[in-house]
């Protein structure tokens, strides 16, 4: 039996320059309609001049292992993809918005065609053996899609010696975006 994948994303904030190429690549790859986004950049500036620090964070759906959007979906439109991702089946979605209310990360929006939409880790590309569009386009190699179940050591190599931050872990969602500080 084939090994079950568990995709996650490791994001190196030291490399990120906040160029938003990931956002535009995603919009183009997934035909994200105007006025919406599947991923976004948060820029945080702290301190007093001249001692300022800037942090750029590329953010998207956390593909939680214990996803409240999945447990609150009344029609199973939001579901676990079986490869560590959380996916949406537009054909099952009624647009009731329970998943949007349930998401602690505000990762979802309603597509003008009437279904909930969000980052899918470009599942259509993963199936072809490609990386997500944002990962492919990132000019500073900030974004890394990793398989936490694999033995290739990629995730460990990236995280070694670095402070690793996750968002709202206390929500109990077991998120799968890891930011390297």
């Amino acid at each position: 039996m084939a090994r079950k994948r568990k995709y996650a994303m490791i994001i190196d904030t030291k490399r990120c320059v906040g160029c938003s190429a990931c956002v535009y690549a995603c919009k183009s790859e997934n035909n994200v309609p105007e006025g919406f986004c599947r991923d976004w950049i948060v820029q945080r500036i702290e301190g007093d001049y001249p001692k300022l620090t800037m942090l750029n964070r590329s953010e998207r759906c956390q593909h939680c292992e214990n996803a409240p959007c999945v447990s609150n979906c009344p029609t199973t439109a939001s579901h676990y993809g079986g490869d560590g991702t959380v996916q949406i089946e537009p054909d099952l979605c009624t647009g009731c918005k329970a998943c949007i209310a349930a998401c602690p990360y505000d990762a979802r929006y309603i597509h003008p065609e009437g279904y909930a939409d969000k980052c899918s880790f470009c599942q259509h590309r993963l199936k072809q053996g490609l990386k997500p569009a944002c990962v492919t386009v990132c000019p500073t190699k900030t974004l890394h899609l990793v398989d936490l179940n694999s033995n290739d050591g990629e995730a460990e190599k990236l995280m070694r010696g670095r402070e690793v931050v996750q968002d709202k872990v206390h929500a109990g969602t077991m998120p799968k975006l890891f930011w390297l500080m």
Binding site: Q43, R44, E46, P74, C93, G95, K97, A102, G114
Partner: protein
């Protein structure tokens, strides 16, 4: 300096990213009203002579006008509420998808299936108690006659189903822990009591003068419990974790505070309770102001909870 810039779009900037607008609070109000009416009319059927808890071995009392009207209004108002819920759906052609799955962790799934039981039984009660108006319709009579002798059982189920729908309107919101204002399990009890109180108010508004006092006294009881539940809701919030506490302060002292204190607490509970007390001791005559205030307070409660819940930042 601490400056955060984000190109993430949010509903404060773009209203089309709002989760639920006016349709959902109206549904929650009508759902509570319909559930409350079913509890009250079902309860009256069980308590009257010949009812399950009424005097035994006596013929059943004739159904009062309020039992008749209340029983009809319950499924009608719920149907109307469902229409507003339908309006809120972004993909209206997929409404049937609610019935292709049962997800036990999703309150919305429970609610959808509960309605499947609510509607036929509430309608059956409405038909049975209005039998004398329906004599000419043979098809309807074919449903009424065999089910008539089970009226006690139907009323018994309906009382519970009505309470279930009332609680459900609150639980629907309270399982979303991502929205800290909603994330209180007592919200179900607050909405149930508010629904019962507004149902008593609606019946009070329509009842003949000699029956008004009974419903007014019933409402006093419901308002008192609603006040108790609301107090617990507030205490639970301000003694909660930082996130929950800030959310509760946002509700009771933020931009929605005037609506919360003046329209809901004062107008929807304290003033009606005082006027009903004066009515009960015979100091004043019945005034339509009381039921109108209660109904306005109840509708306002749904609006401020739904709106404030979304306006306060997501779970931190």
């Amino acid at each position: 300096m601490n400056e955060v810039l984000s190109n993430k779009l949010n509903p404060q900037v773009l209203p089309h990213l709002e989760i639920w607008a006016w349709e959902v609070p109206i549904y929650l109000f009508l759902g509570g009203l319909a559930g409350g009416l079913l509890v009250i009319t079902g309860g009256m059927l069980l308590l009257q002579k010949g009812g399950l808890f009424g005097k035994k071995s006596e013929a059943r009392d004739p159904f009062t006008g309020m039992i008749q009207i209340g029983s009809v209004l319950s499924p009608v108002l719920l149907g109307l509420g469902m229409f507003f819920l339908f309006l809120d759906l972004e993909n209206k052609f997929h409404v049937w998808r609610f019935y292709t799955a049962f997800v036990w962790t999703s309150p919305m799934s429970w609610g959808s299936w509960m309605l499947i039981i609510f509607f036929p039984l509430a309608t059956l009660q409405a038909l049975i108690v209005n039998e004398r108006w329906l004599e000419g319709f043979s098809l309807v009579n074919r449903i009424i006659q065999p089910s008539k002798k089970h009226l006690n059982l139907i009323a018994m189920i309906n009382v519970h189903m009505g309470a279930g729908i009332g609680v459900y309107t609150g639980i629907l919101l309270s399982t979303f822990y991502a929205r800290p204002i909603w994330s209180s399990s007592i919200l179900g009890f607050v909405f149930l009591m508010s629904g019962l109180s507004s149902a008593a108010a609606l019946v009070m508004l329509m009842a003949p003068r000699r029956e008004k006092l009974m419903f007014s006294k019933m409402d006093m009881y419901f308002i008192s419990l609603e006040g108790f539940a609301t107090t617990l809701f507030i205490i639970g919030g301000i003694t909660g974790s930082e996130n929950v506490r800030d959310a509760m302060y946002f509700l009771i002292s933020g931009p929605y505070a005037p609506w919360f204190w003046v329209v809901f607490v004062m107008g929807g509970m304290i003033v009606p309770l005082m006027l009903e007390t004066l009515e009960a001791i015979g100091r004043i005559r019945f005034t339509v102001l009381v039921p109108l205030l209660v109904l306005t307070g109840s509708l306002t409660l749904r609006f401020i909870i739904v709106y404030a819940g979304q306006a306060f930042p997501t779970f931190a």
